[in-house]
């Protein structure tokens, strides 16, 4: 049985440094996979190779049985949402989503209609003629997501989309992304360095460090059975510490209440 997406021996060398070391993993349709790791672990490189912005030194990427490793970015049926959204401020919300469609032969004629549909589905129908800067950060992210959804990608990649937001916004945005995933049954690869985020959002987490995969499993399994010291320290201990701090907080509140 083939997997929805198969990455085999994906390898990338910059100069004389091995940035990604023969990485293997698979992905099923509708899955939310987080790629979790500290800066420099290779997750951003992985993202760039998957989406086709850069070429791998060796290895293959297969999507739906098709080998996409040598294809142009735009031919891979993958969408990407960047950290700072990269929306076009000189166009309205509608035009932002329409713009991409105009360059695809199969969508050119119905570009406006498709754009309207997608924007309605993400709840932005009443804002279609506004300029980008008239909307909140969360709404802007929805536009960025709409822009990729319009092209019906097989996989959506998220590049640390919430790192630049404050805590309150981050929580809201997490919910929104999950909502959209449910709505579209999207397959999502989500790059992050935030353990909490990976844990609350993913079906599976791929923990990376120094160019290779440390462990790839469901959040519960990773928490209960970390496979090595790195995973234990980076993920489990970190979350454990947070939890303990919270507990201490609660205890002192209870004590003060009485």
């Amino acid at each position: 049985m083939g997997h929805f997406m198969e990455v085999s021996h994906l390898h990338k060398i910059y100069g004389d440094k091995v940035v990604l070391n023969k990485v293997d993993f698979t992905l099923e349709e509708g899955e939310f996979l987080s790629v979790l790791g500290p800066s420099g672990c290779g997750k951003t490189t992985l993202l760039k190779l998957l989406i086709g912005i850069e070429q791998q030194t060796s290895g293959t990427i297969k999507l739906n049985g098709e080998d996409i490793s040598k294809l142009d970015s735009s031919k891979r049926h993958m969408g990407i949402v960047f950290q700072n959204y990269a929306l076009f401020p000189n166009m309205t919300v509608l035009q932002n989503v329409e713009y991409a469609l105009k360059f695809q032969d199969q969508y050119k004629k119905e570009a406006k209609k498709i754009a309207l549909q997608v924007l309605e589905q993400v709840g932005l129908k009443e804002h279609i003629n506004k300029r980008i800067d008239q909307l909140s950060g969360g709404q802007q992210q929805r536009i960025a997501i709409a822009r990729t959804l319009a092209l019906k990608p097989a996989v959506i990649l998220f590049d640390e989309p919430l790192s630049a937001l404050d805590a309150a916004n981050r929580l809201t945005m997490r919910k929104e992304i999950k909502q959209i995933q449910k709505q579209y049954n999207s397959t999502i690869i989500y790059i992050t360095h935030d353990q909490e985020e990976a844990f609350t959002m993913s079906d599976r987490i791929m923990v990376m460090s120094e160019g290779h995969i440390e462990q790839i499993d469901t959040p519960i399994n990773i928490y209960n059975h970390p496979q090595n010291d790195f995973v234990k320290e980076f993920v489990v201990d970190h979350l454990q510490t947070k939890l303990n701090d919270l507990k201490k907080c609660m205890v002192s509140i209870d004590e003060n209440e009485i």
């Binding site: 989406i51 086709g52 912005i53 070429q55 040598k70 294809l71 142009d72 970015s73 735009s74 031919k75 993958m78 969408g79 990407i80 960047f82 950290q83 700072n84 990269a86 076009f88 401020p89 000189n90 166009m91 309205t92 713009y99 991409a100 360059f103 695809q104 709840g123 009443e126 003629n129 506004k130 300029r131 008239q134 822009r147 092209l151 309150a168 809201t172 919910k175």
Partner: protein, 830 residues
């Protein structure tokens, strides 16, 4: 993956060819010529040494004065409460719109032997020589120095000064310890830039130099007069030196300059004395700068000042006879093409260096900047040496080319900075969406950098109109621009005609600047056109549109509408007609997209529910349950609010909670979009503390007290016309109530007759919501503020900031559960 597109490669090769042919090879010609010449002899000649000495003295003097005056002027413009700052800025920079040689002429007409001021005040001194050169160079270089200082002061991070003020550091000490050190590096840059500008100019010395020969004039004479290219080349090399030094200094300084992204604006303190000094200073300065121009305008119509003071068009006609029309056309063509082609090449180059990057691009960047280090006449000579005999020589084209190169670096930098600031991920996005870079440039970059492009265009145009340096050796009677007519007129002592030519150049530049300004304003206006934040519906239109929106699934008749709005059917028909005309309704009386846009500013975007209180009077129920979650007839009190809210599709729900806050989490199962704000002071303060927590969220928002059972959900509508409070008209009440006049709340009372009984459900439009953020904070921080009720902010303490309407409802619509007795009345289970 495809290799880099052919298009990119082609453009890069073309650019390379362009730079090689227009900069590198001509410069080589200079070096070759120098190598061929006997440098030693030239350097040994006493004349040469005298000339260098003269140049150094006059330039240093002029540069110092210019920098000092400009520094003070910029400081006054940005750090004092000077009046008419915008006008002053225009006056201060207007001298940039005429050639340097005109400034020299200006001195002659004002202070020469027959000068206006000489005659007026019976002055007796010789303008020719060092004095003239210094004064003329001052006029010429002041605007440039001013603009540089202006930038430096404008982008200084002024949070340092705020801190210093808080710490009580006196102003003079701030100046010595903060301003001066900050100015050190930019000051050196500015000084050398001004120095180079003056050092390499021959226009001023040509007019007022007299016997005081300076280097550029020396070079000009050698090349034009004696055709000694060798000597010219050697002198040219000497002229490059200060330009090169300035260039290097600038390069070094730029790396260290901290371009802070968060620039605190300077808060100008009140200081009458400083402002008076600033006014006097600015007045004298602007007079001095404008006097030459004004005198030109006057002189060109005077037959022969001071002998024959009568109106005459002689000088104008003479200038026209001598070919002014033709040269004017030349100038405009040259200027426009310099601007068009120059802007395009600079922009494309900047695109490659700032966004594509790579090792190759560093070379392009360096070349583009190096053009700054080459003085105009040196560039001109290099073009003579390289292009002589070619097809391009003697045409307008070579003048256009030399101007583009001469003025290249500033517009290039403008584009480089502007393009560099744009989102770095655009190219990646384009790749993944299958959008070619050329489309990205056309549809995304150019629209976003439009004002920069206009600035670049203006810079090229104005400079091409006034330049006499790079074009000096390349102009002949067939292709010469208007500015080059002036040296010819000078040799014929036709001062009045020079005045006329100067004014013509000034007018052309002014017209161009105004045109660009109009275009800028027009573009900004077009941009704003899409904004939907204008509340431009009247009450009737609002009522009808909202009713139509509500009934959009059902049938309505004009009769029904008339009933609901309380007006005649005739009025309804008229209103429907108007709405149709405005494009808000279509012919079936359905609301159009434009109609929805018009309604958008009135749409309620958020609900803020104040639910932090203890509910002491509902003890023992509220010992374990916060009041809003108490069930009345099986339904939680707060659910009546939440259901009404979600029924009309209000997106955001904010609950301010405090007492037993974790119990509110259960609401998320039914209403996942709720956001909570915790009020830690619920026990110590009244509900104004909750309003404090949510004070930034009140624009286009309902604010409700969570202990109100909403029996009539229609009270919560999707659109609201303006800020209002719910109230029930009553003869007598002993509770909170308002007096009104013309439907506007005039007074908040406890207990009254013929008043509206108040319910704690209010709506705040965008402006009022914004005001509340400030007013709530101020009221809260007053002594005793914490004991206030939040409604008192807008209805009592800050009531003249608001015009709040009363929205009528009835006692049956809402039940306030204040006490256990109230509860028992409604729900027999208790």
């Amino acid at each position: 993956m495809k290799t880099k597109s052919r298009g990119h490669q082609l453009i890069k090769i073309l650019l390379l060819a362009f730079f090689i042919v227009s900069i590198i090879l001509p410069l080589f010609s200079i070096f070759i010529k120098v190598a061929e010449t006997n440098i030693v002899d030239i350097f040994k000649s006493p004349q040469f040494l005298t000339v260098i000495k003269n140049s150094l003295i006059s330039t240093t003097l002029a540069a110092f004065i210019s920098v000092a005056l400009a520094g003070m002027a910029a400081w006054f413009l940005l750090r004092s409460n000077l009046k008419f700052k915008k006008i002053l800025l225009i006056l201060f920079t207007m001298p940039m719109l005429i050639p340097s040689i005109s400034h020299g002429t200006g001195l002659v007409v004002l202070l020469g032997a027959n000068g206006v001021l000489t005659n007026l005040f019976n002055l007796n001194f010789n303008i020719y020589g060092l004095t003239g050169i210094v004064l003329g160079s001052l006029l010429y270089s002041f605007p440039v120095a001013l603009l540089m200082f202006y930038d430096v002061f404008k982008y200084e991070d002024c949070s340092v000064y705020t801190s210093a003020n808080v710490l009580g550091i006196p102003k003079y000490s701030q100046f010595l310890k903060i301003t001066l050190p900050y100015l050190r590096k930019p000051l050196i840059s500015i000084f050398f830039a001004v120095f180079t500008l003056i050092f390499t100019d021959y226009g001023v010395p040509l007019m007022v130099g007299g016997k005081f020969m300076t280097l550029p004039l020396y070079m000009y004479n050698e090349v034009i007069g004696l055709l000694d290219f060798g000597k010219g080349a050697v002198i040219g090399l000497v002229l490059i030196v200060p330009a090169f030094v300035a260039f290097i200094l600038d390069l070094l300084n730029k790396d260290n300059a901290a371009m802070s992204f968060v620039n605190a604006e300077y808060i100008i303190a009140k200081n009458k004395v400083r402002d008076v000094i600033a006014s006097i200073y600015s007045f004298i300065l602007s007079l001095g700068l404008m006097l030459p121009i004004l005198t030109f305008a006057f002189l060109m119509f005077i037959k022969k000042y001071p002998i024959m003071i009568e109106f005459s068009m002689t000088h104008i006609t003479r200038a026209m006879d001598m070919g002014l029309n033709k040269y004017l056309v030349n100038s405009i063509i040259i200027a426009i093409f310099t601007a068009l082609v120059g802007t395009t090449i600079a922009y494309i180059t900047a695109y490659y260096t700032s966004r594509v990057g790579g090792k190759q691009m560093r070379f392009y960047h360096l070349i583009s900047m190096v053009t700054l280090a080459i003085p105009g006449i040196v560039l001109g000579l290099s073009y003579v040496l390289f292009f002589k005999g070619s097809f391009i020589y003697g045409t307008l084209a070579i003048l256009i080319l030399v101007n583009i190169i001469h003025f290249f670096s500033s517009p290039y930098l403008m584009a480089y900075n502007a393009l560099g600031k744009l989102n770095p991920n655009y190219e990646n996005v384009a790749k993944t969406l299958g959008i070619k870079n050329i489309h990205l440039i056309k549809d995304v970059f150019v629209p976003q950098t439009l004002s920069t492009i206009l600035e670049m265009f203006t810079y090229f145009f104005v400079n091409a109109m006034v330049t006499i340096s790079a074009v000096s050796f390349l102009s002949s009677l067939s292709n010469q621009p208007l500015a080059m007519m002036i040296p010819n007129l000078e040799s014929m002592m036709l001062i009045e005609s020079i005045s006329f030519v100067s004014i013509v150049i000034l007018v052309v530049n002014l017209l161009m600047k105004m045109l660009i300004y109009v275009i800028k304003v027009g573009l900004a206006h077009l941009k704003r056109k899409g904004d939907v934040y204008e509340m431009n519906l009247n009450r009737k239109e609002f009522d009808i549109l909202t009713l139509l929106d509500k009934e959009k699934d059902g049938n309505f008749t004009q009769r029904k509408l008339a009933e609901k709005c309380n007006v005649s059917v005739g009025t309804i028909n008229a209103a429907l007609g108007t709405l149709n005309e405005k494009g808000y309704l279509d012919d079936q009386n359905h609301i159009t997209d434009k109609g929805y846009e018009a309604l958008e500013p009135y749409r309620v975007k958020r609900v803020v529910i104040i639910a932090a209180g203890f509910g002491s009077r509902l003890v023992p129920l509220t010992i374990n349950t916060p009041k809003p979650l108490v069930r009345v007839n099986g339904v939680r009190i707060i659910d009546t609010i939440l259901d009404a809210v979600t029924a009309v599709g209000i997106e955001e729900i904010v609950i301010v909670r405090g007492y037993l806050k974790e119990q509110f989490d259960q609401l998320l199962y039914k209403y996942p979009q709720i956001k909570f704000i915790d009020n830690p002071y619920y026990n110590e303060a009244n509900n104004i503390s909750s309003a404090m927590c949510a004070r930034h969220l009140l624009q286009n928002a309902y604010v409700l007290e969570a202990d109100l059972v909403v029996y009539n959900p229609d009270l919560i509508t999707k659109y609201q016309y303006t800020s209002n409070y719910l109230g029930v008209k009553t003869d007598l009440t002993d509770d909170w109530c308002f007096q009104t006049k013309n439907n506007i709340i005039t007074k908040l009372l406890v207990g009254g007759r013929n008043v509206y009984h108040m319910y704690g459900i209010s709506y705040w439009n965008e402006q009022d919501g914004e005001k509340l953020a400030e007013d709530i904070k101020n009221t809260y921080e007053l002594p005793g503020g914490k004991e206030r009720y939040w409604d008192q902010v807008a209805l009592e303490y800050c009531k003249d900031h608001y015009k709040i309407e009363v929205r009528e409802c009835s006692f049956d619509d809402i039940i306030e559960i204040d006490s256990y007795a109230d509860l028992k009345k409604i729900d027999p289970h208790y």
